[in-house]
């Protein structure tokens, strides 16, 4: 009798589990479809052969590479792409060096003014970035690094303010035991030697994370780039260049070309991101949990 009862209970529980699981599968599948739809739409539009404006159906009647031909032959896209690539490469190097230096100094060393520097950066970070950008624009203009020279200008701006983004790297350094440094220092190693020979080899995940973020960020920057490159088409980055194609004047001739350009930018960036996803996850979760 009691045996029968518990069997029944077990059966009903696993039944409930099964419905729950089915519901979750349905939910997650629906979610995945919603998340993928824009990308499917993007691909379909990029390869559409007929009509370059927005149309009322999703799948093209004629697949072709025409949009990519227009993109490279008839527009400045290649310029914008190279600009962004150059900025991204420089930024990956400069920003990584700066972020790791600041993070190491603030994490491992104790000196007068350390707290003051950290609090100051905290307060500065509370101002909207675009506010300082307006004045930065005037400063860059004085030294001639706007409009046609916007590429070095943007590199300078991104690198110069990158020291304030040290939090995640510092959080990582904080988790490396200090006894390692102390042991090496007793053996006569200087601070700089400790930094290069002991901490850096252990910091591979955070180095990869920093390089990756520094490389990817310029591809998506619209706000700063639109200000610094203002009115000089050759100096645009991809975001500023492609943005214009969706305004009222251009959209009927450029919608599919925008999609082609968007796809061309997204594929390498996405591939890079996906292949280094592990480091990204470590970085964001570490940063979020430590605050």
């Amino acid at each position: 009798m009691s045996d029968n009862n518990s069997n029944k209970k077990y059966a009903s529980k696993s039944g409930k589990e099964r419905t729950a699981r089915t519901l979750i599968y349905i939910f997650l599948t629906a979610l995945s479809i919603i998340w993928l739809l824009p990308f499917i739409y993007l691909i379909c539009q990029a390869f559409r052969g007929e009509s370059r404006s927005m149309v009322t159906y999703v799948f093209p009647k004629k697949w072709s590479l025409e949009n990519f031909r227009i993109l490279f032959k008839e527009t400045q896209f290649l310029h914008w792409y190279l600009n962004t690539l150059i900025i991204a490469l420089f930024n990956a190097v400069l920003q990584t060096v700066i972020v790791l230096s600041v993070a190491y100094a603030l994490s491992r060393m104790r000196f007068k003014g350390r707290k003051l520097i950290m609090n100051l950066m905290l307060v500065l970070g509370m101002f909207p970035g675009f506010l300082s950008m307006i004045a930065t624009y005037f400063i860059l203009k004085l030294i001639g690094l706007t409009s046609e020279n916007a590429v070095p200008g943007l590199i300078l701006v991104y690198a110069a303010s990158s020291g304030m983004g040290y939090y995640i790297a510092k959080g990582f350094f904080d988790t490396i035991p200090k006894s390692l440094d102390e042991a090496a220092r007793i053996d006569g190693a200087s601070r700089s030697r400790v930094f290069f020979r002991i901490i850096m080899p252990m910091a591979k995940p955070i180095i990869i994370y920093t390089i990756m973020m520094a490389f990817i960020a310029p591809w998506g920057d619209f706000m700063y780039a639109s200000l610094i490159t203002f009115g000089h088409e050759k100096a645009y980055n991809v975001a500023v260049g492609l943005y214009r194609w969706l305004d009222k004047e251009h959209i009927n001739n450029y919608f599919t070309v925008f999609c082609a350009g968007g796809l061309f930018v997204s594929v390498p960036v996405t591939a890079l991101f996906m292949s280094l996803q592990r480091y990204y996850v470590e970085g964001v979760t570490g940063g979020a949990v430590k605050g």
Binding site: S101, L122, P128, F130, S161, L246
Partner: protein, 504 residues
Amino acid sequence: MKRLAELEYLGLPPARQKLYNFQLFFADLPKKLAGGCKKIPAALGKFFGGIGRGFAGIGSIFKEGDFKTRLSFFIMGFGQFFRRQIGRGIIFLLMEVLFVLFMAFFGVHYLADMRNLGTVAVEKTLNDYGLEITVYKDNSLKILLYGVLTIFIVIGFIWTWIINVRQNAVAQKLIEEGIRPKAFKDDLKSIADEQYYKALLAVPLLGIVLFTVIPIFFMILIAFTNYDYSHLPPENLFSWVGLENFHTMLSTDVSGSGKFAYTFREILIWTLIWALVATFSNYFLGMFVAICINKKGIRFKKGFRTILVMTIAVPQFVSLLLVSKMFADEGIVNSLLMNLGWITEKIPFMTGPTMAKIMVLVINLWVGIPYLMLITTGVLMNIPADLYESARIDGASGMKQFTKITLPYMLFVTGPYLLTSFTANINNFNVIYLLTAGAPKTMEYEGGAGKTDLLITWLYTLTITNNDYKMAAVIGILVFLVVAVISLFVYNLSPAMKNEEDFQ
């Protein structure tokens, strides 16, 4: 809640102890908030007290110093020369000479001009051939910019001077004790070792001062001028107006000038609503998705996760611009719904004021859920399994386990993140600008603002399209105040920030 004595606490099983700690954290929240507010005056007092003590210290150095030290107050590096610290002496003397030259030829001039930011903008004269030409004279923008740079150079010089004086005092004392003071080559050696932080921080901090501190200082000053489209240098001058812009922005006068204030209030309210809803909807739905994916027995975990993470990887200007066009009046969503015969009139997804606000919040879920999914997945895996074990034994249902264990733990661990993401959302330029650019625009608002504009996107519009720099600067300062007040609470609440050394 009931507080336990230490013995009682130690008597609990470990799982219960953890639970007790969570509860304690939340029970203490109000007290911590109050404590945080009380700390502000104390911190200010400490700061100014420190400066005062610094000056007093320099006074006593002068009193107790020998003639070498005293002379160094006026001729920097003098004492160093006579104490065989030649390298240091040369550097200090050079700095003083450069500073004096700079001030004499430029600095004093710039500072004097700062008072009224120029008197004559352009002068029409005739050239040799009798043609009228325009000569640009004073440029308020350059005057202000150079003036600010001069102020920072003066601050930098005072700082160097203090270092010079202190160095003298140290060297004097060491010599009196019969020890040879450090020389320039010891400095070089120490910069790779004990003072390595100087080498590491010099360039980054210089960058921050030049491209963040000075620009912010400059823009704060702009808020007190009338720099806008009708006062654009070099054709026109702008000048100081005191608090007038703040008055315009915050006035309660309904007629005439009150329109700017009205716009500001409406946009501020929408910005706060947006930040609140966007943060919490993303947080809870992201957590829900993470729990679903991580549930025991669910397969294709990696597949689901990868699909969601795609939205993080694709640059936002591609994905968000495309999505905004999909929901446009002529966009694919309206077209498909009409083709299917489900609707007869286009739905104003992005053009109806209320509809557009709802849409940006919904589309923001598409952007935000993957981030939260990643973050919460990591945290969920760290919840000690024995907590659930003991809860099950006590007969807690799944729902109860969620509200009593999962949720408190998540809030405890990601609390700081939740609040920082709230402040990040206040400044979330990309999502709003790429989706709607603030549209639908309305005549009710001043300064080209629209119904979905946040303060940060309005700031952008005011600058780029309206050239209304003075109001943009005021908005920037007010955004700072809002974020600062909220952040003060964040950093007071975050246990990770307070016990920095605990992690090492």
